[in-house]
Subunit: 206 residues, 2 copies
Amino acid sequence: MTDRRLRPRKRPGQLRAVETRERLLAAAARVFAEHGYAAGTTNRIAEAAGHSIGSLYQYFPNKDAILVELAAAHARSGIESIRRRLEDGPLPETLDGRLRLFVRAAIDNHRDDPALHRVLFEQAPRPPELLEYLQEAEREGISAAERLLSADPQVSVTDVAMAARLVVNAIESLVHRFVSGDDPAHFDRFENELVDMLTRYLTGPR
Amino acid sequence: MTDRRLRPRKRPGQLRAVETRERLLAAAARVFAEHGYAAGTTNRIAEAAGHSIGSLYQYFPNKDAILVELAAAHARSGIESIRRRLEDGPLPETLDGRLRLFVRAAIDNHRDDPALHRVLFEQAPRPPELLEYLQEAEREGISAAERLLSADPQVSVTDVAMAARLVVNAIESLVHRFVSGDDPAHFDRFENELVDMLTRYLTGPR
DNA sequence: CTCGATTGTGAGCAATTGCTCGTTTTCCTG
DNA sequence: CAGGAAAACGAGCAATTGCTCACAATCGAG
């Protein structure tokens, strides 16, 4: 929690080193998910990875850097998941269908490892560097949403900018809440209702 | 972070003691809000309150107990705020008006001290005792919402149970996000749009 | 005023943490 | 095989933390 620099002190060259780094990251994900951020000590992470702390500190300058790496990877995978779905087939015809696509992507990305997601985005300290990265990603999401909403004749909302923020934040927040919560079975009902909520909101009467 | 019991070891009897306890709690709120949970050390809290750590540990068995006390107080104040608004005047005639009442209460309760709220409900560990308290409060809120929605002829939603959960969680999550974020001015626009979203959702076409 | 009970004090202990650094092991090049 | 570089190791240090406990100050009942 001391050094602000997040760059690795040594970039892995040999294959062996790359594997070590990956094992350390995977172990960190497991340890953080199970013990939380504060109790997820660097020694524990190294031990769980089957390596020494010395090795850990060869690839990460401090504990925060590990967390940032995990969080950024998670965010990237979310964005990638949406991109893949968009390229996979044509954009759904109905607004309803398009919203469902985004909601599904969000659910999948959260369902992956809710415990880790909780640690990363709730209880862990978020260094400014990570915050900027996440805010930038959110801003992109919002402006993309804004473009989609503006171009859609079905959308009857007046304050499109605020609507875009609401939609993006609603999906992110609510999915996070429901997946983190103890509702393993009701995901379908939740998905339907959330899509319904957004659709009715966006296409509602003047 | 050791002792599970959260009961105070000594209940203050004299006025002097009550004041000490209150000064400690107020200082804890300030320190947590400014430094976060991990860096909000018990020594720092005691110092900020103008007392010794010894006194702190006479009224709180451990650090967690202080946090739980603050969180519970915050939740209580939120519930109280809604109750006051409901008793203050008659229940608004329109669904729109009723929703706005709840949204306003949520905004006010969050606006009070966003930094502290962040610490309490995001980065700090939530002991099971507190979690149960909060879940119970949420369940009450949801079932109250469910009753209101069922009784309302304007409400056209089919899955009323899930709708109640969505509405309560949407208000809580979205208000939290927007108030915590850096949007001091756009609160009105946000309030309007959120009320609009919920109204259209609940009264939308079959 | 007396004197036990309540309240307040703070030096310091035991435990834990993030992290360093001197050393050993493994790999790659020629 | 030689030998230098890259990778891995892990005992242990410096700093911090939550918390104890022996004692001092203050209160209030008789």
